[in-house]
Symmetry: C2
Subunit: 168 residues, 2 copies
């Protein structure tokens, strides 16, 4: 049954493998950019191809684990994940980084924490307006990951110029 499948060891394994594949993909993306900077173009290319391979693995594991719901369910999952991050995960990380005097960590944790709160609100709004047919535009801050529906003069989270925002 669906219930037994949800509770199985294999479902846990699928999600553990998903976590590994997701991290490998991001790692190889970072490594491909570094290889490009260093002029190692063949290595950059291999990291890109392998990153895309890990995308195939991650998405298939996630699907087989039964984690892709309807869009309304997926938006709810988004609200829950974002809310966990900005309320539970990031605040103690920011506090610990401050205690250690690690300014770069304080900055990256704080940007993410504030952006996740915005994401949670936007997912909630998208749930509430799912049947609205009028096209919506979103603008992404390339520095902190903030998302706005109207381009601001400066990003209210990180201060970067609104000209840098990316339109969706």
């Amino acid at each position: 049954s669906m219930k037994e499948k949800t509770m199985s060891k294999t479902t846990d394994n699928l999600l553990e493998a998903f976590a590994g594949e997701a991290q490998a993909n991001r790692k190889y993306l970072a490594f491909s950019r570094k290889a490009e900077q260093e002029g190692h173009l063949n290595a950059a290319k291999l990291f890109r191809a392998a990153a895309d391979a890990e995308t195939i693995h991650a998405l298939k594991h996630f699907e087989v684990a039964g984690k892709i719901g309807s869009t309304i369910e997926n938006l709810k999952s988004g609200v829950e994940g974002e809310t966990h991050e900005y309320k539970e995960m990031y605040p103690p990380f920011v506090e610990q980084a401050e205690a250690e005097g690690n300014n770069a960590a304080v900055r990256t944790f704080t940007f993410a924490m504030k952006a996740e709160e915005v994401h949670a609100g936007l997912y909630q709004e998208a749930m509430d307006t799912l049947d609205n047919q009028e096209e919506v535009f979103y603008y992404l801050c390339p520095v902190c990951g903030n998302i706005e529906k109207v381009v601001p003069g400066k990003c209210p989270i990180c201060g970067v110029s609104g000209e840098k925002f990316i339109k969706y």
Copy 2:
């Protein structure tokens, strides 16, 4: 000192946040495709923008954690990660999925396991030939994540036609 920084709680936190951001990115990518299939184009757009926001977060956390080395170090990290996956992680996952009769899981784990072994070999080869200036081409199987240097008639891992392979 660098050693103390490497051992700090904040470094652990950066890697935990990296893991969360990496998984959120892949999740939102899957959710954006699903929203497109369902014709929820605004939701698809928001999932894409948020996925890209999580990429910004993941890459910055990873960099601040000091995990981006030189390309030769990064290739070594690639060999180690791939070897762990194909030798340690996936074999018991395949066995457990077989015991549970979950054919879809057996298939996705087996494809990944075999592809990771290929990736490990290619990263090792790239380390050994890092100073080779001649351009190398790679071909990615879009079904199983196998990577070949010459397009095969059929993928030796999953059997898909070589015509489907993606050139890098």
